[in-house]
Amino acid sequence: MKKTVIILLIILGISSCETEDKIQPRDIFSQGVVESNDPLDQYLKKEFRDQYGSVIIYKFVDKFIARDKFATPPKLELVRPVAELIKQAWIKPYNVAADTGESFMNRYFPAEIVMLGSPIFNGDGTITLGIADSGVRVTLTQVNEYSPGNTDWIRQTFQTLHHEFAHIIDQNFNFDDQSFFEISGSDYTSPGSWSREDLNSAIARGMVTPYGTSAVGEDFAEMVSYIITTPPDEFQAIYITPENCRAGDTDCVDRNIGRQRIQQKYNRIVEYYKNDVGVDILKLRDEFLKSLN
């Protein structure tokens, strides 16, 4: 009986259907899409896709924005200048500061950069300025605010980009969160309450911005971003050099204690970037600041 069943199944298996010879292997990546001849697309292909394997997405695609949020796309005329700025103020400084030179960004530059013209409006009155997704995509907002020489926009935008890229660095090189916890463990704010902080209270907590108080990962990314984008004398004056406190001014004393913690974290980050990431972050900062001029 068993033999009979097995024989029948084999026969069925052999004889089942005949059309498989029509299925042919095909390239699943080409999908028959014709390469664009548009000069902007050609530029982005040459400068980003061919060099860094990165696609600059400047045409609006709603899947990059959550369904309950709003945003608008960039003005076409601003895409190339902002793309050039990305090369100048993000890629080039890393190329100079990385031990491995250009191959660092060849490997770690995000696979996708999404450009949006507006901020992302969250529907609750707040806005989002940037997003880093799983180490592969960074969303750059407010492109429509860009104009040549608008250094405030450039500084703020690249603060966001360097913040988001710090998360990508962290995801690839596993920053030791514990070392920040040892410095500021009890100073982080409870969920959702960071927006009630101001610069002074953030400094007293040992962080460079209110947002940095929200979680150790954000503290790390904000520190990295501010180290890179703040002129060193300004960073020193705001975040490191102690104030002369009047007698009884406990807030002032707290800020100075916070500054000591910022100094410790600063040292930790410089060391981490040097030894673990292979990037001289102070050289990176100098190159970034040079790129603004």
Partner: protein, 439 residues
């Protein structure tokens, strides 16, 4: 028993082997092509229709019935780019954009870069209902009906009509014409009214008139037949001659729709059988109805307000130049307005922060004329230091304590969403106005 099983399996084998693989080519296909091919064919047909018109498409875009009409011209090019002209904001956002005809759940048209459509999408905190991602609803060679992709409930519509040779230039000629409808255009007179007069000059009805530039609506307030205040927010459309109400509106028994601009008198006039409806500026409000005067300075509103001069980022720009200049000449940069201050026995006062560091308190008693105005009746002075000189404030005192009083209107100038702002307009000299926000 074993033999019976054998027979069953042999029969099963025969049935399966003869019936399982029917000859596919004997089944008549429902469609001639595969799904992907049919979708691509439909999308390419849509593109063919959008690209075809030599003179592109014209659109009278009224995202929802609550807002006015924006005239837009769009030409879809074969290479995936667009040419756009509109009458919104002098065409500042009539920018080139790429477009995409693709499919997500349904076939869609997406304007992929920032244009006037995106500008309108952003207006009023995305409240205008405009769209830049559309679903194809009905596609004909001379008319295309699209619906919003993202509207959650009722999806707004947009209709593309095949344009003629002059439509583009006609729309471009409308650019900037809404300046002349804008409040305060070409005049120093503050109040704007609509007056409806019979052929013999008798006033049949009157009310206040104002224009919302971004929503492209007119707001008319008038006294209803029951003595109530009627507020009409009316969508408008620009014309070369003036403007039209999108739908006719009845005010005081008169139906009005089309207005023609008269440059000489800076008025808009509608003439229906000799009955003239005129939108004009004057020194008096079109309707004496300022209900904010009732609650201004009470616990129901706010009891503490601040005015900053133009040296501050908190300066509110509806303040008139005359008031600003007088304040600057008087030597103060900040003026607090406190009502019922419990710290000082419930008194109300103006607190001037003088540029020399002195503080001057001008105490008053509030008098409200219901639904009309508020008057500050002067009752005393206090200074810090005691010997502070306040002689430079004489003209400002005369203005603030003018017995004719102040109209109070709520505005949207405050930088803080939970703190309201108000404009106070001197009833005798409306060119003196100052704007404050609540604290």
């Amino acid at each position: 028993m074993r033999n019976i099983w054998k027979i069953y399996f042999v029969l099963l084998f025969i049935v399966v082997s003869t019936s399982s693989c029917s000859n596919d080519d004997k089944v008549e296909p429902i469609f001639e092509n595969a799904v992907d091919e049919r979708v691509q064919k439909r999308l390419s047909n849509y593109k063919k229709i959008l690209v075809a018109p030599e003179f592109g498409w014209k659109i009278a875009y009224q995202p929802t019935g609550e807002f006015g009409v924006f005239n837009i011209y769009i030409k879809f090019n074969e290479d995936g780019t667009t040419i756009i002209s509109s009458d919104s904001k002098k065409g500042v956002n009539d920018l080139p954009s790429k477009y995409r005809i693709s499919i997500s759940q349904f076939p869609e048209l997406v304007l992929e870069n920032y244009t006037v459509f995106h500008e309108l999408f952003e207006v009023n905190n995305f409240g205008l209902g405009a769209e830049f991602e559309f679903l194809f609803e009905d596609v004909q060679p001379d008319r295309v009906l699209l619906k919003s992709k993202t509207d959650a409930q009722e999806k707004s519509e947009i209709i593309l009509e095949k344009a003629s040779a002059n439509d583009k230039i006609n729309i471009e000629n409308l650019r900037g014409l809404d300046d002349r409808i804008s409040n305060g255009f070409g005049t120093d007179l503050f109040f704007r009214s609509i007056k409806i007069n019979s052929p013999n000059g008798q006033e049949l009805a009157s009310g206040s008139f104002s224009y919302n530039f971004e929503a492209r609506t007119a707001t008319i307030q008038y006294l209803g037949s029951q003595g109530d205040i009627v507020t009409e927010v009316i969508p408008i459309i620009l014309t070369q001659e003036g403007f039209d109400f999108v739908e006719p509106v009845s005010i005081g028994g008169q139906t009005i729709k089309n207005f023609i601009y008269d440059e000489l008198s800076n008025t808009f006039v509608s003439n229906v059988g000799g009955i003239l409806s005129t939108v004009l500026y004057s020194n008096e409000p079109g309707l004496l109805f300022f209900p904010e005067s009732n609650t201004f300075g009470t616990r129901a509103g706010f009891e503490f307000y601040i005015y900053f001069d133009s040296s501050s980022s908190n300066f509110l720009r509806q303040t008139s130049q005359n008031f600003l200049n007088l304040g600057l000449a008087s030597g103060f940069s900040r003026l607090d307005l406190r009502f019922n201050d419990v710290r000082f026995g419930g008194i109300s006062y103006f607190e001037f922060e003088m540029n020399n560091g002195d503080t001057i308190f001008a105490i008053f008693e509030k008098q409200v004329t219901e639904n009309e105005k508020i008057t500050f009746n002067f009752s005393g002075i206090a200074t810090d230091p005691q010997d502070a000189d306040f002689s430079g404030l004489t003209d400002m005192f005369n203005l603030l304590f003018d017995p004719n009083g102040w109209y109070v209107e709520r505005t949207n100038e405050s930088r803080f969403s939970s703190n309201p702002s108000f404009l106070l307009t001197n009833t005798a000299n409306p060119e003196f106005r100052f704007s404050v926000y609540g604290i």
